[in-house]
Point group: C2
Chain length 141, copies 2
């Protein structure tokens, strides 16, 4: 259980790749997809989600493409993952206890809350910059 989906995996690969480029370098989606070995059409959907919340900037038309929306050291893994997978929710009840018909009796509740906090804490503590390898840093597209 608790498995990251392909979408999440692809999302991380794609944006980490971007993070390894000069901040103002515009990369073609097709190039990114090829580099990180992800179906281009699928990656397109992912980057559209990124674009909407400013994680990446997109440019249409000739010479268009994508670049990172903010410096790599300011983007956390948590943001990336939640952008495409939705919030980290170990259990439905964590979201709204009031919706839970058994909330009165549910002693498991605080446990899931702690799981949520721990996971978010770990992912929030990692930035894109920290995920770069030497070979990735400052290479051209």
């Amino acid at each position: 259980m608790m498995e990251l989906t392909r979408k999440g995996e692809y999302a991380i690969r794609g944006i980490v790749y971007l993070a390894g480029k000069p901040i103002d370098k515009v990369c073609l989606l097709s190039d990114i997809a090829a580099a990180v070995n992800v179906p281009p059409t699928f990656l397109a959907k992912i980057f559209q989600q990124f674009s909407k919340i400013g994680l990446v900037k997109s440019f249409r038309g000739t010479g268009g493409g994508f670049m990172l929306g903010r410096p790599p050291e300011s983007i956390t893994l948590l943001e990336v993952v939640e952008a495409v997978e939705g919030p980290i929710i170990p259990n439905r009840c964590v979201v709204s206890p009031s919706d839970c018909e058994r909330s009165g009796e549910c002693t498991v509740h605080p446990v899931w809350r702690r799981v949520q906090d721990e996971v978010r804490g770990v992912l929030e503590g990692v930035t894109l910059k920290e995920l770069l390898t030497e070979t990735q840093t400052h290479t051209t597209c």
Copy 2:
């Protein structure tokens, strides 16, 4: 993401219910299912899985039913969840890095490992006994 399935939720409800009964009390599946509001046939499958690994003991035929396999203070939430949901795996790569075609470049790897450790740690720290409410403790079926 990271959401517990119904199966996992039902599993917890069912076994926590059992944990609230006297250790040698045999409970009917149909009674348990009704008490915790879970489809009986579905709960049957879950308890079959529990039974195979000794989390519960089952008895067939007239007067049959289920009882807890071990004292409630010795059964952790981690065991219960992994029994029905499988191991806690935030990312495929965590299982076998050698299978991962990108393991050389994958800097995210250790992060998922930490997530896994944290989640397992939290769930391992909670026993069925701790999940019981006063009302649940030592009631009859």
